[in-house]
Symmetry: D3
Subunit: 335 residues, 6 copies
Amino acid sequence: MTNQSRPVTLFTGQWADLPIEALASKCARWGYDGLELACWGDHFEVDRALTDPSYCGAVRELLDRHGLGCWAIGAHLVGQAVSDRIDERHRAILPADVWGDGDPIGVSSRAAERMKDTARAAAQLGVSQVNGFTGSPIWHLLYSFPPNDFDAIERAYAEFAQAWSPILDVFDAEGVRFGLEVHPTEIAYDFVTTRKTLSALDSRPAFGINLDPSHFAHQYLDAAEFALEFRDRIYHVHVKDSKKRLDGRRSILGSHLNFGEEARGWDFVSPGHGDVDFEAIIRALNRIGYSGPLSIEWEDSGMEREYGAQDALSFVRRLDFTSSDLAFDAAMHNE
Amino acid sequence: MTNQSRPVTLFTGQWADLPIEALASKCARWGYDGLELACWGDHFEVDRALTDPSYCGAVRELLDRHGLGCWAIGAHLVGQAVSDRIDERHRAILPADVWGDGDPIGVSSRAAERMKDTARAAAQLGVSQVNGFTGSPIWHLLYSFPPNDFDAIERAYAEFAQAWSPILDVFDAEGVRFGLEVHPTEIAYDFVTTRKTLSALDSRPAFGINLDPSHFAHQYLDAAEFALEFRDRIYHVHVKDSKKRLDGRRSILGSHLNFGEEARGWDFVSPGHGDVDFEAIIRALNRIGYSGPLSIEWEDSGMEREYGAQDALSFVRRLDFTSSDLAFDAAMHNE
Amino acid sequence: MTNQSRPVTLFTGQWADLPIEALASKCARWGYDGLELACWGDHFEVDRALTDPSYCGAVRELLDRHGLGCWAIGAHLVGQAVSDRIDERHRAILPADVWGDGDPIGVSSRAAERMKDTARAAAQLGVSQVNGFTGSPIWHLLYSFPPNDFDAIERAYAEFAQAWSPILDVFDAEGVRFGLEVHPTEIAYDFVTTRKTLSALDSRPAFGINLDPSHFAHQYLDAAEFALEFRDRIYHVHVKDSKKRLDGRRSILGSHLNFGEEARGWDFVSPGHGDVDFEAIIRALNRIGYSGPLSIEWEDSGMEREYGAQDALSFVRRLDFTSSDLAFDAAMHNE
Amino acid sequence: MTNQSRPVTLFTGQWADLPIEALASKCARWGYDGLELACWGDHFEVDRALTDPSYCGAVRELLDRHGLGCWAIGAHLVGQAVSDRIDERHRAILPADVWGDGDPIGVSSRAAERMKDTARAAAQLGVSQVNGFTGSPIWHLLYSFPPNDFDAIERAYAEFAQAWSPILDVFDAEGVRFGLEVHPTEIAYDFVTTRKTLSALDSRPAFGINLDPSHFAHQYLDAAEFALEFRDRIYHVHVKDSKKRLDGRRSILGSHLNFGEEARGWDFVSPGHGDVDFEAIIRALNRIGYSGPLSIEWEDSGMEREYGAQDALSFVRRLDFTSSDLAFDAAMHNE
Amino acid sequence: MTNQSRPVTLFTGQWADLPIEALASKCARWGYDGLELACWGDHFEVDRALTDPSYCGAVRELLDRHGLGCWAIGAHLVGQAVSDRIDERHRAILPADVWGDGDPIGVSSRAAERMKDTARAAAQLGVSQVNGFTGSPIWHLLYSFPPNDFDAIERAYAEFAQAWSPILDVFDAEGVRFGLEVHPTEIAYDFVTTRKTLSALDSRPAFGINLDPSHFAHQYLDAAEFALEFRDRIYHVHVKDSKKRLDGRRSILGSHLNFGEEARGWDFVSPGHGDVDFEAIIRALNRIGYSGPLSIEWEDSGMEREYGAQDALSFVRRLDFTSSDLAFDAAMHNE
Amino acid sequence: MTNQSRPVTLFTGQWADLPIEALASKCARWGYDGLELACWGDHFEVDRALTDPSYCGAVRELLDRHGLGCWAIGAHLVGQAVSDRIDERHRAILPADVWGDGDPIGVSSRAAERMKDTARAAAQLGVSQVNGFTGSPIWHLLYSFPPNDFDAIERAYAEFAQAWSPILDVFDAEGVRFGLEVHPTEIAYDFVTTRKTLSALDSRPAFGINLDPSHFAHQYLDAAEFALEFRDRIYHVHVKDSKKRLDGRRSILGSHLNFGEEARGWDFVSPGHGDVDFEAIIRALNRIGYSGPLSIEWEDSGMEREYGAQDALSFVRRLDFTSSDLAFDAAMHNE
């Protein structure tokens, strides 16, 4: 009963505590088709890819050995530093040489260079899709009090475009595309800001979207409609879920509580355990002709991780289907 | 058919473009019982109150002349600067002498002094309630990515308490209480953060709440339950409303759009035109014995302001009622 | 703008602490059309009506003096004792001579006689409608554990019919009808039990319904559909409201808490302040041709009583309307 | 408390059994600002307007005498016959000379000529807005079984445009605009069909919309969003309401039952008594700058007509408000 | 874990592009219990059944060879022409000899004869259930504008009965029953019209219902309640699903768009992927004692057909269960 | 894909018509981990356990033979008689020697002694958990009419505590805990009454809760929140489901109809077929660290019992999962 053409991969970002060898072995055993390698831990090391000519081959060999494919890599952490307001939190997620002395301008500049290298490394690995974050110079202005200068908000999209255009030039040169995971704290996190972001980049094809519905559900956004509106920019898809737990005492804004805290108004959950209408998304992906990976990004503070990775895979296998190529009611006609 | 004991006032903050004389005249004509004077425009000038011995008397005289009372003043703008991360936006809302050279530490320090003066000025005016904002050193960390250091979050409540305790000492000395308008961008904006804020201050009576339900509705919080949980800290009540306009394409987070923009997911509206369940709030206020003002804070980008102020007053007059002092079914007993 | 033919009355049962003279004066001043007199307090005294030939005339004279009509009386408390399992609670609501020594059989028997007298007294007063309760021999078996003997449940309807048939014979003889207020704790409290009750009485016309929607809302019943299903038995209508306050912690069953307690799952509220869809009821009453009183039974533990009685009257005046006698779109035809 | 600039009129179509003199007198007494005259009964007689030079003056004089304005006329019945499939039902609604011998081609052709005359007559009366229906050659193909030929569906919009273009040429010549009341049975009844209809006419300004939300609610359409999408084509607005009465046994499709039947799934009701979110519509009208009449089309099988016309007027008076011309939070700025 | 007594069949109507041999082979491999053969394509040829004495045996043999049963046949297309208003669309779905010259009276008359033959052919095949459509002379009058003559609507049911009675006489003679698939465009499409249709036929047993819930969901009808109301007329059951996709811009009426179009308000989907509450239907079927086939009619413009047929079968296998024959809580009694 | 540490058992109470040997054999075959033995039928005989020294060993041997564990026993029927108002219904569920002459005081007293013996027998069997009911002296006062004496209600909790304290002393002595199945007709049936019950017993650890969510759903209570509030008293968990079937004509109160009747407003159903949000419960159990059995109490009047027991087991196997022991986003940090 399989007509599923889309490979199911695991995004390795939340498993970077495990060596890639160990993780690949597990994923193969569980039945995954491939991995979306994170550019941290030892999963995919951008600097080694550019300096060690054998590195990418060895990575491919390792994956092949486990029967796993790789269609995309994830460069969220470094990408975040390109357009973000840098603070202490970035130190914890950046490679030491990107952080350097922590001076914001230098950090962002080194992060931008590393993103160019990431495109080059992806090309080396034979992967044409890099997913990631961009950061945002205006996220802290989310709620307009003290009242925002909304001209400054508009200018921020232009500044963002200025920062990313040279990076995207390298992507173009390497035949690689960037997929922003539309997400709070990024330059684009909803329909409005995605429209502005794409427009600021003149909708250049190098810049598209890694669609992750878990960031839409708690904003009351319809991820399937998003896929339809931005149909030519859906370059990659994450399968991740979130669940609202509102009871009149828990805020949708999160209460400055860590994920998994009992009093939070929403939380990430294993795919199929939350609010995301994945069937609507599959139908939208069918409609727009998306045939790339369905990449499980697994985060659920309330579930054991390895059980969850298997539960999620089985969920996606049940979920996915392709569209029809017959006209409706055609068989009822007498000719 | 009137059993309403609670005075209905207008918060003058959104009308500071009008001289207080003109505004008082309008409000009196519309039927308001009094004004909650904002500490900006010429409505209530803290520095003059402390330097000009006749000023407070003149303000009272002006109000008396229009048959208006005053039970509270609003010091939102200066309060915001005490614990906020200072940026260019504060310059636009602060008195020039509080902003000074704009150096953040100096600004916050001068704002703290001005808040002490505000308590003193309120006492001069014969008002025992100052409403306002506090700002927040951690608001920009609302969404935990890059991942927050949650110990630092907890420490922020302690730092907040440290900043406000000397201010509250002056409030105590003057017999005046502060009412934080629980609100996004402030140290407390929901149940969880209010609990932590009150706890950081050891629930000292000088610090309570100005309950404004418009900030709860778009967070999916129940303002009536809030009143019940924090029943001994509800010092003042704003009547203000907001309305969600979610359609799967508009984010509850606001899209970095100004209030009133068509693509926003929620907006402020004239009381009774939005999502707030005011009847539940009145019943909660009756239950906790609140007998202070119902103060209309009027903001609605889609309605003419003077029409709205009258519409809101008429709404509150229809809405308000007091509770029973009879036992249920008592009349059915035969003794 | 008045086309309202239905009189609006106040049921006096919850006001029996006030002498009828005082209450009538208030109601007249508030604008009521009449009173539904309760058979307790000094409002309508059944024993005096039968023994003092001038009593009913004096009652009418009192009402006339205030310009008030009377179309029905309420005999809830005595009626309750006819088919109920008698316990200490009945002592508090029964006349001393009906309670007597409190022996259950005697109490029920004396209550039955008093109900016959009530019909006689109503006729004396020139009123053809007596509203009331019946009690229920099986209410305590509401939840079937230990498992009920359901044959015994069915038999209880027959026993009920046996107890009430002689009473209804007197009603018939007097030209008076009984209206059971369908209500938990009574033989009929929903659609199913009303069907069984009417059937047990062979749908004799002497026994009908005093429709009170406040008892339907918390059972999730549609009072307008009830009016349509039992259209020939809707003899009288109470305007009373109730409101569910469910939050996952409050039970719809009431928690053995008194009305008005904060933790209850539902409560009675002033008409228009609750869950009842009164417009649907008015449309149903129009459809079935009900032209009798809309009688406000006012109970709301959270609202001052006299304010509430006026608020309710004004609500009913806004609410009520009569139906059309024109065919739809008739004016569009060219003949 | 009035800032209402939009006149409130009554559409006279459902009152054509009354002479215009009688109706105008009633409406004036009730407080209406004007009438939207129907082109049937004696309300506005197109043929007399073109043949009797004094007719339009007399109509204006009659209206003036009652202090009533007229900003639009309604030509629904004749318009319906232009593009409809003609059957016996049209005979009942058409003037005898338009119906003639009932041959469909002739009927439609005479109806088209009468619509041109209607534009001429409107101009005579000094009215630049004619509202009405168009009929639809494809309405009967609503549900595609036997399967529709969807090319034929598309062609129908072109045929419609062909039929109406000569009529609209006359409208243009007379400086009058047509407003289609988007409505089931018409060429446009929802968003999709309105887009196609306007497109078939190359969005020529002569053809716009008479927005009537009562036809949207039972289709689950958002009339406020409709006003925003077609903002430059909202030429006139009807205030009319409808209410769904679904209970799992009543079909949204209407069951071939007449309006007012108890078993219908939805029905028209007096404005404010149904599902229409009129506040959202007012806000949308403010946003798009609509300042024309709010014209009450009154239909409610369950309410007495004259009561209803007054109830509706009072509803609209409470409802309507104009928008703000102040920037949000402007008064909080210190400059 | 199987207690399922109801066979699961596939209705072959949407697969008539495949030869029955090929389809039977697929269905057997997928695990179906049988086929509901459509009377078009080469699936079940009514004319051959009556003229070729070996035909029915050969059909049975083919089915037997694949281990498939047959409990019903589907004659939707010809049945549609009996009471429909004939137009060009019928030509595409009718056998050439039934269409003939396309003159409506002749078409309907030949269709009626073919339906009699269908009963005879079913009997030959040893099948006692023929499902199908009836068409409707009044479907085009769905929305009453121009206003319907409702007497004419009522007469249409009588005319329908007149047309079908002779057909049903043959059904009776052959020991075969007809099951109308209650469906828009048919004489019965909801509760009201089914009541009228059955009543017009004096509820003769030859005429019952093929219950297909996919046609109920988008009408907001409860198919389980339908099964209970018409419990003695549920002769066959289709398992088919539909899904509403309403967003305020898509009409529930379908917008004259083909199935599968993005802007439609609802669409057919593979069973279990839509709005139908199949568990409620199974419970209703258990309650009324239905033990016939659950026949999957598979239509989903957004899913590959063969995947879908298997997905649907697996859905029904998980879904179906039989009812209990034990009394509740019996095991708790001590006797 | 198993990380499930919680055993899945079947509560045998509804299967007491089967000998334990036969039931154990079935459950083992179906894959259950163990049984929660009911103290009726021949499943677990308290009197034999105390008089026959070999009995408990034989029971364990029987279970071992089928590979089944036992972590709790169920003593609902006798427990019910301890604090209930005794009537004829108890005779049907009590052992003859507990019922005796049926005199209420004697029945309750013997039931109390039998509960002490049950603790002793459980200890013999090596089981430390006894689940059961308590009965309630005030259940019949559920709806306060005639008006309750609420002081008497409060006293009933004290009387309850007095009755159960000596029983719980024996539980303590035996190292066994009691788990009240919170349930209508018991002293505790919701949050409020559970708080009062635990408080009356000074929260002594011998008395906890057997959490059964099927009794919460129809009361509109959130069983997951209940688990969190009473986290240290959740001693055992039943997996049982119920479903509301409200349609405006069916009362949530049950209409004095037996379970399974068509007109009831709610009913018990096989787990996963109803309203209970089991995922929320699993997450709550993970949060509070509950690692005991998930015991299926199977009741569904509309499903064949043996099919259901297997369906339920498979449901729980899919449902259950354990929680994570990793910090959120830990893998994203660079140290």
